[in-house]
Structures are given as structure tokens and as C-alpha cells.
Symmetry: C2
Subunit: 380 residues, 2 copies
Amino acid sequence: MLQPPDTEPLDPPERTLMGPGPSEVHPRVLRIMSAPLIGHLDASFIEIMNEVQELLRYTFQTENRWTIPVSGTGSASMETAFANVVEPGDTVLVPTNGYFGGRMASMAQRAGGEVVHVDAPWGEPLDPDDVAAAFDRHDPEVFGFVHAETSTGVVQPQVPELTSIAHEHDAYVIADTVTSLGGVELRVDEWDVDVAYSGGQKCLSCPPGASPLTVNDRTMEKVLGRDTDVRSWYLDLSLLEGYWGEDRSYHHTAPITNVYALREALQLVAEEGLEARWGRHREMATRLKEGVEELGLELNPDDEFWLPSLNAVRIPDGIDDTRLLAEVQEQYNLEIASGLGDLEGEILRIGCMGYSARPQNVRLVLSALEDALAMQGYEP
Amino acid sequence: MLQPPDTEPLDPPERTLMGPGPSEVHPRVLRIMSAPLIGHLDASFIEIMNEVQELLRYTFQTENRWTIPVSGTGSASMETAFANVVEPGDTVLVPTNGYFGGRMASMAQRAGGEVVHVDAPWGEPLDPDDVAAAFDRHDPEVFGFVHAETSTGVVQPQVPELTSIAHEHDAYVIADTVTSLGGVELRVDEWDVDVAYSGGQKCLSCPPGASPLTVNDRTMEKVLGRDTDVRSWYLDLSLLEGYWGEDRSYHHTAPITNVYALREALQLVAEEGLEARWGRHREMATRLKEGVEELGLELNPDDEFWLPSLNAVRIPDGIDDTRLLAEVQEQYNLEIASGLGDLEGEILRIGCMGYSARPQNVRLVLSALEDALAMQGYEP
């Protein structure tokens, strides 16, 4: 027999989470995660599933019947979108203005799609004229864009313009709403978005593991009419239909506790009210933005593309971001993050999401930043 | 604005779980699930990841470097195995003796494999002679078998014989250990199993959402040498290598709380000791089996293939299983399950897994069964 390792019962540290996610989880959500489990085919669990679907529809602002949590973290709901909508040979238009457009490309290719790009620099949104030009040039079947880009702190404005360009070309629109759902204005039906996916651990303040997805009927017709099987069994919406649709028949075991947690996190969204919640995110992020500017720092995106839930702060000359992040963690138990991809070493990423979007957390970030910058000789 | 639904804070019912999973979760695991989160790239989380890997190696009885939890429920670790090991054009040999052989076929096909079968009736294990004949006939690159078949309550004996047949033909062996890991004797290295996957919610008594997978170096060479990309980005082991391997670079957000839970569930395995735990499962299931036999019922499989963690009990003539299951839930808050697939209506499935494998649970099942059978006029 191989012997067990010499490990102790788990005792993880506590952190104030103000990075790009996970955000801090509301105490009510943490409490529900320690509830004993029931079976995934239990009638009471089916009722919980129904409620999760209703609460998700509200949060996405959609009436889509096909609104479910995918049994994995945000990248699983993302791949569920691309793997189901994209059929081999489809042309898929994706953006170049951030990290997650690259991931879209990779997922679309694996689904058998031909990837084409609409360009914009990291740190800027897409220009509808460029999108229109890309449609004229490539005539894609599927168009993916990122509503709230976690790698750059940029929100995509003019979503209805983008979707109407796509629909004039009979294309399907997939929106990445990982860092907007529940924190930043998002109206799936009104904006005519066909498919939107998200994660739990951003503005919903839920532990990752069950990830929101909504698909409208028009897109489900494409999915259910595919000539070839979806390349993943686990993420195949035509099979998930048996479980999340009217039959409630067994497909796979749902992550029961994560569904509990998402149910409670969405209940908190409903209790707060979506518009009030968007307002709170904006108000807390405004405090953060103003505080950062008082320190003489500036946000990377233009004000009009500023994403309140993810604040990309330019690193001043001469500041070592790795050292700064280590200082704030060591001195304040605070998590904020460095840049990713093209903006590595150029920005800090400070989240302001869900339960983390509170006055005391904002104040802590500003104090910690001021101290950690001063330790490297920075003066505002 | 669409209005929120009229939902209340979640208050799920409590059940005694003696079905095919989820099993009851140990109180220490439930408690750790309400621990506040840390980031998935936090140095402390990396340490937790290391410990999970070490504990998983012990539980699988393997020294495989490639031993990780997949970020989804058991079907996700299952698909990770097939999607990575099977390349387009590979011949994949799978069994017909239970529900999960069928799922293997579907996953292998979606990965581009050609599926061939080795036959055995539902309720019986594979015969090594049949496996050898199937190898001679089809010369498959990949061979999948189910070590502990949840749909039939049958354990596959003679695993080393099966793996040696496969290796004589230079094939790779994938074992479904969903209902055996942590409850029934399983020795991945000693038995020469190349890949094994499992779930949390069976004998590990962990909420589903982070699912064990182990892959030996020889198989990882095949995976890393593929000519084509794995068809799922989310489940691609060559990308997961960046996160779970030495780099610890970002791939996707891990289901942090589920990793905590798995860490603690595996810690309980280590504290109990694997052989003692196998013994406890056998002892509790023996009490269950004897009690069931005293009621005049019999188990479906022959004694030599009996799977202690999942007891398939034949339904006596004249008993309506749907009514029986409803009675035991209503009167005793007890979950047991009916048959699946070929054995639907023929058997009841009574789990005896992990924290559920306790004297009081076994006693409750026997009392409840006796009462519910009597209500339908059954006499032992």
C-alpha cells in the first residue's frame, strides 16, 4: 500500500478579495453551501432548479426558456455556447481587443469553426463600423463579443447596434457577460443578444462551479437542428434539454451545492433589485476611481468605456507590480491582480463586484495602494 | 424591466441519502464549504492544490504525476479521459454490460473514435476471454471498462487480467471508478490501469463539482503528442497542464469551494486509512445485504460480483417500485433509487457509500423497506 501524505484538516486563510474574481461571497451564500445535500432527481431539487432558472431569467433580463446553470465554472458555460452554436464549417467572427476574444477563437476552432477577426486594440471596445465591415467581408454565421472585458476593464457600449448588424446578416450573437451579469447594466432581450454566458464568482458573488447561460429559441433551433453531434457530451444542450427541460430526466449529476449557492446568490440579486445593484456597483466603483485618481493614478480605459466591476489602473513609472501585489497581500490580506496578456506589467486590475463592492473594501484598497506605492518611493 | 420572481431564501429539505449518489456529506466537509474563498492563483490555494493531488494519489493508489480534480461533476472527468486519450480515427472498445458503457461510446464517438463493443449482459462483469477475443477482432487503441457499475451493482473482478490483455495489444486502458474510489479496493498502479476517473459524490462523500482523474505518463505522452487539438478547450489536459502542472498559470477559474471540499473529504479518507475504509464499506454493506435477504429479497448480481457500495436488490413480484420509493421518502425522508436502463423496474438501487455507510443508515433502510413492502401486501 502507498501511504497517505502527512496533511492536516484544511484551514484556508481569509482574504479581502478585490481582484478580477472570485469576489467575496455573501455570508448567506456561504451558509447555504453547508446545507446537507438532496439528490439531483429529488422533486425538491427540481423545484430549486425551476427557481434558479426563474431567478436567472430576471438577472439576464430575458424570457428565454433556455436559461440554465452549466455544471462547471465560467469557461464551461462559455464553451457550452460555442460548442453548441458553432457547427463544423461555420465562420465565427471574434474580437481581438482582450484576452477572452482569444479564448473564443480557440473554442470556436475546436468546434470546427473557421475563425475570422474584428480588430480593436486591447483597452478599447469594438467600433460598430468595424463590425459591419467585418460582416461584409466575411459573412460569419456566428459573432462573439465580450460585453465586459475582465482583462482590460472595458465595457462594450452600443450592444444593440452590434446585434442589429449581426441580425441583418442572419448571424447568431454570443455575448460574454462574465464580468457584467448582476453588476453592470445588461438587457439580453431588449438588446437582442441571442446567447449570453457568465460565471458565478464575479458580480453574483457566488463560488464558481455552476455558470449561467441563456439561449433564445431561434438559436436553440439551430442547435437542435445540427447535422453533427456537439463535440462534447458533457456540454451538449440537446442532452441537457432532458434534464433542464420538461422531462427532468437524468443526464449527469448536477453540482448540487453549487446550485444551492447560485440560487441564494440570485435571491440576493432579486431582493436588492437589479437596477439598485447596478447603481451600487457604479457608486462603489466611482469611489474607488476617484480615490485612485486622488493618488495621482489613472484608469486605463477612457471614461466612456469604464467598466465599474473591473477597474484597470495604469501602473506608474518605476513601480514593480509584483512587489506591490505581494505587499498588499502580506500587509492587508488583500487580493488585487496584475495585468494579463498585452497589458501585463501595464495595469493593476481591481475588482468591485457583488458583495466585495462595499465601502470598507474600497477604503481598504485605497489605503493599501497608498502604502504599497509609498514603499516604492512613489509620491502622488 | 422584467420583474424578479416571487422566491424566498432557500431552505432545502434534509434526507437520508442511500441511493446511487449523492451520498451524505461528512459534517467536516459541509463545514469547510462555508469557508470564505481565496483566489484560484493565490499561493495558499496552490498549496491546497498540491495537497489535493497528493491525497488523490493515495486514494487512487498511484504515483501518477497527472492526478487532478476536473472542474465539473463525474461526467466531466469521464469526458476528460475520453476526449483527451481518443484521437479521431482511434478504435475504442467499450462494454455493453451497463449504463455507463453506453456513455463511454457516446463520448468516444464525439472525440472522433470508432466504437466497437465487448458484450456482456447487464448485471454481469466482463469475461477476460471475451475481452481478449474483442482485442483480436478489432485491435482497438483504447479500451474502456467500468470497475464499479452504478446501474447494475456489479464490480469488475480480474482487472489485472483485463489490463494485461490491453497492454499486450499496446492499447490504453480507461477505468470508470466512479462508484469504487474510496469505498472498494482499487489499486491503479498495481493493476496497471492507465487512466481512471471518478466523482466526488459517491464513496468520497463530497458534494459533486470537482472530479478525480489520474493519467499515467505513458498515456500523457499520447495526449501531448496528438496531431489534432482536443475537441474541448475546457477539458484539454495539455492546457490544464499549465494550471495543475509546475507552471500554475491561469487556464480557467477552479471551483474553489469544491476543491476545499474534496481536500477535506480526501483528508478523511487518509485519516481513516484506505484499507479500513474499504473494510467499513464491506461491513456495512454486508449488514444491508443480510438484512435484505432476511426480508426474503435477493441481490441481482452473483455474490462474487457484488459491489458493496451499490446494492442492486431484485424487486419481488407484484411490488410497484415507484410507489415504494415514494413511501420511503415520505415516511422516512429516505432516498433510495429504482433501476436504470435494462434493469428499470427490475431492481432497487441502494447505495452504501462514504459517510452514508453507517449502522444507523443501514438500519433505517431495512426498517423502511420492510414497512413499505408490507404496505403493498408483501410478506417475507
